[in-house]
Symmetry: C2
Amino acid sequence: MESNMIYMPIVLAALGLIYMLVKKSWVMKQDAGDGKMKEISDHIYEGALAFLNAEYKLLSIFVIIVSVLLAIVSFIVPTTHWLIVIAFIFGAVFSAFAGNIGMKIATKTNVRTTQAARTSLPNALKISFGGGTVMGLGVAGLAVLGLTAFFIIFFHFFMGGEWTNTMDMTVVLETLAGFSLGAESIALFARVGGGIYTKAADVGADLVGKVEAGIPEDDPRNPATIADNVGDNVGDVAGMGADLFGSYVATVLAAMVLGNYIIKDMGGNIVNEGFNGIGPVLLPVAIAGAGIIISVIGTMLVKIKTNEAKEAQVMGALNIGNWTSIALVAISCFALCTYMLPETMKMEFFGEGLVDISAMRVFYATLVGLFVGGVISAVTEYYTGLGKKPILEIVQKSSTGAGTNIIAGLATGMISTFSSVLLFAGAIWASYAFAGFYGVAMAASAMMATTAMQLAIDAFGPIADNAGGIAEMSEQEPIVRERTDILDSVGNTTAATGKGFAIASAALTSLALFAAYVTFTEIDGINIFKAPVLAMLFIGGMVPVVFSALAMNAVGKAAMEMVYEVRRQFKEIAGIMEGTGKPEYDKCVAISTKASLKEMMLPGLLTIGFPLAIAFIPMIFGMNHQAIAEMLGGYMAGVTVSGVLWAIFQNNAGGAWDNAKKSFEAGVEINGEMTYKGSDAHKAAVTGDTVGDPFKDTSGPSMNILIKLTCLIGLVIAPILGGHTSETAVAVANEEIEIVKSNDTSSNEVEKQIEVTMEMDGDIAKAEVSIKTTMNGKTSTEIKKLEGTEEEVKAKIEEIKASLQ
Amino acid sequence: MESNMIYMPIVLAALGLIYMLVKKSWVMKQDAGDGKMKEISDHIYEGALAFLNAEYKLLSIFVIIVSVLLAIVSFIVPTTHWLIVIAFIFGAVFSAFAGNIGMKIATKTNVRTTQAARTSLPNALKISFGGGTVMGLGVAGLAVLGLTAFFIIFFHFFMGGEWTNTMDMTVVLETLAGFSLGAESIALFARVGGGIYTKAADVGADLVGKVEAGIPEDDPRNPATIADNVGDNVGDVAGMGADLFGSYVATVLAAMVLGNYIIKDMGGNIVNEGFNGIGPVLLPVAIAGAGIIISVIGTMLVKIKTNEAKEAQVMGALNIGNWTSIALVAISCFALCTYMLPETMKMEFFGEGLVDISAMRVFYATLVGLFVGGVISAVTEYYTGLGKKPILEIVQKSSTGAGTNIIAGLATGMISTFSSVLLFAGAIWASYAFAGFYGVAMAASAMMATTAMQLAIDAFGPIADNAGGIAEMSEQEPIVRERTDILDSVGNTTAATGKGFAIASAALTSLALFAAYVTFTEIDGINIFKAPVLAMLFIGGMVPVVFSALAMNAVGKAAMEMVYEVRRQFKEIAGIMEGTGKPEYDKCVAISTKASLKEMMLPGLLTIGFPLAIAFIPMIFGMNHQAIAEMLGGYMAGVTVSGVLWAIFQNNAGGAWDNAKKSFEAGVEINGEMTYKGSDAHKAAVTGDTVGDPFKDTSGPSMNILIKLTCLIGLVIAPILGGHTSETAVAVANEEIEIVKSNDTSSNEVEKQIEVTMEMDGDIAKAEVSIKTTMNGKTSTEIKKLEGTEEEVKAKIEEIKASLQ
C-alpha cells in the first residue's frame, strides 16, 4: 500500500476528470434554447474560440523560443537536464488545455442557464454551477494529473523509483519545475491578455453605447456587445483558470522541493518509513489528490430547492459546499500527515540548526493555510461587499463628485492592505513556527486543495453574467433576467472573494517558491544588509507598480481602438440603431483580440526579462554566482512584497468602486435623501467604476502571476547559479575520490594517503585535496584548496598525485 | 588647525545664521504695501501663527510624554544615557524654531513681493527669493549648529574631547540620535498636520467657492480663502522646512555613526591622522558646514535684470544658483575628503572582510550623491512638467472624461517609479561599491549639503503663490498678477522638483540610518530567509500604504467640515456675496487648525507605534534580542522600499494631474481642436487634480518622514536590542580580564592561565573562559562558554577560578 501511494493522486485526478466529463455531458444535454438565444451564444462561443486560437498561435511561438533556450541551457549547464524542455512544453499545453475546457464549457453553459431560468431558478443554478464544476475539476484534475505523472516518470528515470539521495531528488524536482514554468508562463499571458481583452471591450462598449448612443448594456445593436461578453469568459474564466492552475502546480512543487530537504536534514534516509522513502515529498501531492475528490463532494452539496430563493439562499448553498470542502480537507490533512510523515522529523531552521518537528506540527501548518483561505475571503468581502461600511462611505463621497468618490475608493483599497497583510504575515510566521518553510508550503498546499471547488464558485459568476446578457439580447421575459440577476449578484460577490483567494494562494506559493529557491541555491539566506541585494529589493518592489501601469495603459489603448470601431459602425451601417442593420460583431472581436495580444507583450517582457537580466548580466561580468543568487533572491522578495500589496490595493479598490456604483441601482440614502441611478452622485460613482475596471480585472489579478512567475523563473535559474552539485558535478567528484598508497619511498616507512573532493559552482570547479602523510607512526595532514575551470583543476590534481608517487 | 576642525561647522553655521538675519532685516525693511494688502497679509500671518501655536501646544505635550519615556528607558537600560532626553528636547525645539522662522518670514515676504511686483519684476523676485533664502539658511543653519554643538558637548562629556574607543563614540552618537529623533518627530506632525491643513482649506474653499458659488479663486468674499493661503505656508513652507531639517540632521548623524565604525575597522586608532582622531566622524559635519556658506554664495547668484523677463529667465536664474552650489559642494567634498580622511582606510564589507578604501573613493561616493540630487529633479520634471509627453497624454485622455484622465494620471505616477528607482538602486550600489555604507551615507550628506539653497528655491514658490493671492484679493492692476504669476509658475516647477529632492534625500538618509542601525545592533545583517523577518518586511511594506490612506481620508474629513462652515457663512452672513458683509475668516482658520491637528494623530501613532510594538511585544515574551533586532530591521527595510515607491507614485501622479489641468489655461489641442478652460475636458482635468491634491501635498510628502522616522526610531531602540557592549557592560568585561598563574600545584611543573571575556547581550551575559594549561612544556587549551544573567555568569567564573587554584 505505502509504496503505491505515489500513484494515489494520479488515480484521484483521473476520477475527478471522469466526473468532470460526466458533468460536462450532462450540461451539454440541457436545452440550449431557441434560435435567437442560440445565435447569440454561438457568437460568444466563436469569439472566445477565435481569441483562444489567436492566443495559442502566438503562445506556441513563445513556447518554441523558450524551449530552444531551455534546451541550449540544459546542454551547456551540466546541472540542468534536457527533460526540463519536455516538462515545460507539457506544462504549457496542459495549462492551455485546461483554459480551453473552461472557456468552452462556460460559453456553452451560459445559454443553457438562460433557458433553464425561463422555468426554474434551482435548475438555472444547477446548470450554471455545473458549468463551473466542469471548469474547476478540469483545471485541478489536469494540474494534479500532469504534475504527478511527470514526477513519477522523472522519479523512475533519475532515481529508479526508489529514494537514492537528495541530489538526485533535486534533479528530479528541478526538471519538474519546467512543468510549472510552462503552466505559469501561459497563465501570465492568459491573465494579462484576457484582462486587457475584457476591459477594452467593456469600456469600449460602454463609452460609445451607453454614454454616446444612450442604449442599454448588452443591447444587441451595440457592435461591441459580443466582444464584451466574450471578454467575461476570456478574462474571468480562462484567466482565473490559468492563474489557479499555475498556483496549484507551483505550490505543490515548492512543497515537494522543501520536503526533499527534510529527508536530507534527517540524514538522507527515511526508507524504513515507507512511501518509497519520500513521504515528505509525496505528502503535498497526496493532499492535492484528496482535494479533488473532496471538491467533487463539495460541488454536489450546492443546490437550492425553491424558485422563490433569493441571493442569500444561493450564497448559502455555495457556502455549504465551500465550508464542507474546507472541513474535509482539514480531516484529510490530519490523516495524511500522520500516515505519511515520520512521527518526528528533523528540520534545519535558519540560525537555529536542526530542530525536531512532529508530523502533527505539519498538520497544524496546514490548518493555518485553511484558516487564511477562509478568512481572506471574509476580509475581501468586508471591503468590497454591498452594504458594508467602506462601500457606504464611498457612496456618501459620491455626492460631492467624482473626485471625492475616487479618493474614497483609493483609500479603501489602500486601507484594506492592513488586515490582509497582517493575516499573511501572521500566517507566514505561524506556519513557519510550526514546521519551517515546509510548513509555509504545506499551508499553501492545504489552502489550494479546494481549488476545484473555488474555481467552480468563481466560474459560475461569469456564466450567470453571460446568461443575463443573453436574456437581455434575446429579449426574454423580465422574470428570466430577474433570476439570472440573482445568480449574477452572487457571482459578483464570489468574484471578489475569489480574487482574495487567488492573492492569498499566490502570496503563499511565492513564499514557498522563494524558500525552495534559497534552499536550491544553498546560499546563506538573503541578506539585505548587502547593498546590491538591497538595491535589487528596491527594483523588485518597483516592478509590480510599473507592470500595473503598463497593463492599465494597455486597456486604455485597446479601448480607444474599440471606441473608434463602434463609432464607425454606428455611422456607416445603415439602420443599425433601428435594429434593421446588422452590426459587425466579429470586427469588434477581432480588434479586442489583436489589441490584447499586442499589448500583453511589454508587461510579459518586463516579468520575464528582469530576473533574467539580474541573473545573467552580472554573470557575464564574472560576478560570483552566490552573490548573484542572493541579489536575485532580493529581487524576488521585492516583487512578492510589493506585488501582494498592489494586488490587494487594486483588487479591493476596484471591487469597492464597482459595488458603490451598484448600490445606486437599489437606491441609497445620501444626506437624508434617497438617490438613484441617473443622479449626479451615480454618475460620479460610474466614473469611479471606470477607474476601477482595469484595477480589478486587468492589473490587479495579473499581480498574482507576476509574483509567482518571478519566483518560478528564479527556481529554474537556480541550478545555473548553483551552489549545489548535481549530476555531472557529482560524477566528477566521485571519479576523483581515490586513495593513493605508497609504502616505502625512501629509507623511512612512509604512507601517503590522498583524498580529493571536487564540486562545481557554476562553471567554476572547486576542489579540496587533503594529503595525509604517516611517517614513523605519526600523521600530518596538508590540505590544498584549488579553484578554476574544470580542466585546470583536474590537471592540478593529477600534478599533485604525480608528485607524491 | 586640525584639532580645531571640530569647531569649523559651528562657525560656518553661525555665519550662515548671521547672513540670514541680515537678509531678514532687509526683507522686513521693504515696503509692505497699502491698507488692504496689509490687512490680508496680516490675516494670513495671524492664521499661520495661530496654527503654529496650537500645533506647538499639542506637540509640547507629545515632547513631554516622549521625554519621560526616554528618561525611564535611560535609567532602566544601562546602555542608554539620560542626556538623550536633553538632546531630544533640543532637537524638537530647534526644528519647531526653524519652522517658525520660515513661516514668519514667508508670511511677511508675500505682501512685500506683491508690493514690489507693482513696479518691478526683478525686485519681486529678489524679495520673494530673499524670503526663501531666510527660510533655507534658518533651517540649515540651525540644523548644523544644533547637531555640532551637541556633538561637541557629548564628545567632551563622554570622551574628554579626544578619541578613546569605538564604544565611547557609540555612546556619544547614540545620545546624539536623540537630537535627530526630536527633529524628525516634529517634522512628522508638521508635514502631516500641515499637509492636511493646506488641502482641507484648499478643497473646502474650491468646492463651495468655485463650484457652488461660482466665484473665482482667492476671492475675498470666500471665507475659506485666508485659510487656503495660510495652508500654503503651513504645508509647503513649514512642512517642507521641517522635513529637510530632519533629513539634514539624520543624514549627517548616520554618516557619523558609520564613520565611527571605520575607525573601529582600522584598529580603533587613527589619532596620528589628526582631527582629534575622529576624521571620518567629523567629515560629514564639515561638508554640511561648508554647504551652508556655499548656499549663501548660490543664493547671491539668483537675480534677473529686466522687467520683461519670462518664466525661462527666472528659472534660469534659479538654475545658475543651484548648479553653482552643487559644483562648489563637489569641490569642497574633494578638498575635505582628501584633507580629513586617512589616505587609505580599512572598511569591513559584509561577507568580504576588511577592504582597503582610499579617501578618493569616499569622494567618488559623494559625487554619486550630487549626481542623484541633480538627476532626480530632471526625472521629476519630465513626468510632471508642463508640455512634456506624459502631461500631454493625460490632457488627451481628459477628452473622454474624468475616468480616463484619472487612469492616465495614476499610470503616469506608477510608471515614474521606474527611472527613479533604477536611479536610487544604482546610487546605492555605486556609492556602496566605492566606500561601503559609509559611502552611501556620504552620498546622502553631499546631496544634502545644498539644503539651504534647495529650500530657498522651494520656499520661494509658495511666497510667490501667496503674493498672487494677495494681489487678487486686494484687487491690484492685472500687471501685478501677471508678474506674480510668472514667479508662481516657476514656483510650481520648483515645488515638484523639490519634492523629488526630498524623496531622494529621504531614501538615502533612511538607507544610511538602516546601515547605522545594523551596525549598532551588531546583528549578522538582515536575513529575509527567516520567516519572522520576512513577515516584518511584509508589514513594513504595508504601513506606508495604510498611512497614505489615513492621510487622504483625513483631508476628506477636514475638507467636509470646511465645506459646511463656508456654506453656513454664505447663508447666514448678510451681504457677503455683495462684498458688504464681512466673512469670518478666523472661523475657517480655526476649523482647519483643529481638524488637521486631530487628524494627524492616527497616522502619527501608526508611524511611532509599529516599530515600538515590533521591538517590545516580542521582548515581553522573552524573545532573543538579536532576533528582534533583525525583525525590526526587516520592518525598516519594508517601510523604506514601499515608502519610497509610494512617495514617488503619489507625488508624481499629483504633480502630473495638476499640470494637466493647468495646461488648459493656455489652451491645448485635443483631436485637432483647441480646448480651453471651462470645456468638458478641462472639467475632467479638474477632477483629476482634486484626486491629486492629497496625493502630492499630504500623503506623498509624508512618506519621507515616515521612512526616516521609522529608521530613526530603530536607531534609538538599537542600544536596548543591544548586541554591542557599552558603558557598564564594558566595565564588567574589563574587570574580569585577569590572569591567574599558579606554578607547581602538584609534583609536575604546571602553569595555568585563564582569560575571561564577557559581553552583555541585552540582559543576557555571555562569557568565554579560556583555560590554558602548560605542563612539561606542552600547552593545551580548554574553552568554556557561559551564558545567563550577569550574576549567574559572574558566580560561575569565580567558581572556575577557584577550582584552578
